[in-house]
Amino acid sequence: MEKIYKIIGLVKEGNLVVMEGGLSTAEQTELIETTMREIDVEDDVENFIGIDINTLDKDSSSFFGFLKKKTVITVIGPADVVKTVEKQSNFLSMVAEINKNES
């Protein structure tokens, strides 16, 4: 999937990708599989170790009356760059350490 490659490409360059809405289950699965293929332990310069995904969800009741979560925002970044995540019902706060390689 084009979309997943684009996301991983951006994340590998050190970007945080902020998306409106959520990924489908098929896209999430593809994202994990592609991440696993891209992790390269021998490449010490790039040293891509994977991703972190955080979402902001809001409640929306489903057909059967169960509370179903609906993802409003998805943030995908390089693993271990996001230091703290705080989630409340309508609030997502993240502290990230960017430019890790240059520090």
């Binding site: 289950t25 098929a26 999430q28 699965t29 994202l31 994990i32 599989e33 991440t35 696993m36 293929r37 992790i39 332990v41 021998e42 170790i49 994977g50 991703i51 972190d52 995904i53 059967f64 169960f66 509370l67 693993a79 271990d80």
Partner: protein, 204 residues
């Protein structure tokens, strides 16, 4: 193998049930697989470890039988590698692995995760093993559940490690209100009977 055995096996295979153990690295999948297998035939099937990504290839144990109320449920156990969105070989160094060993382990772990996902096509029931000490609402758990729902595979959320004082099984129940959650300790064999009861209901 005699002719009648052959026919009987053919028949058996038709209704063969494969139950996959899925979840994060270190959640206790192999420990639970061992608990179930040792109940069934007195032997372990894999090696548990406190080092994450211990299981890096899918382990399959055929013909496991659990009993409940005089009934029997026979199935194959599929113990899968823990699924994660990241694998950092440097984490393994903290457990005393050499750099080369750690790098090999990381490479195998990434392949294992892909294999675990592939196996979702071949299981007809799943125990999603969640470490009750950790936050259950993770990308890994969400993606596994999404796949199970999309494929109509029945599953039980197993809240493991309730023997640990830091465990919070209620949190798991509150996060997955629409799913069956069974709190257990795979290590101490607590509440395994209850899990078997649910397995009979879901996987029979």
């Amino acid at each position: 193998m005699g002719f009648f055995d052959f026919i009987r096996n053919l028949f058996k295979n038709k209704q063969k049930v494969s139950i996959g153990l899925y979840g994060h690295p270190n959640s206790g999948k192999t420990t639970l697989a061992n608990t179930i297998a040792s109940d069934s035939f007195g032997k372990n099937i894999g090696l548990p470890s406190n080092v994450p990504h211990e299981t890096r290839k899918v382990l399959k144990q055929e013909k496991v039988v659990i009993k409940e109320n005089g009934k029997e449920l026979s199935f194959d156990i599929i113990d899968t590698p823990g699924i994660a969105t990241k694998v950092d070989y440097k984490n393994f160094l903290e457990y005393g692995l050499e750099v080369d060993e750690a790098k090999d382990r990381a490479k195998e772990a990434t392949k294992g995760i892909i294999e675990a996902i592939k196996w979702l096509e071949d299981v007809n029931g799943v125990l999603l093993v969640v470490d009750a000490i950790d936050d259950p609402l993770t990308q890994t758990n969400i993606t596994i559940i999404g796949n199970l729902e999309a494929r109509n595979i029945p599953f039980i959320v197993v809240a493991n490690k309730i023997d640990d004082p830091k465990a919070n099984a209620d949190k798991i129940v509150s996060v997955f209100p629409q799913h069956t959650v069974v709190p257990i300790s795979a290590l101490k064999k607590d509440n395994i009977e209850e899990l078997y009861k649910e397995m009979f209901k879901k996987f029979n």
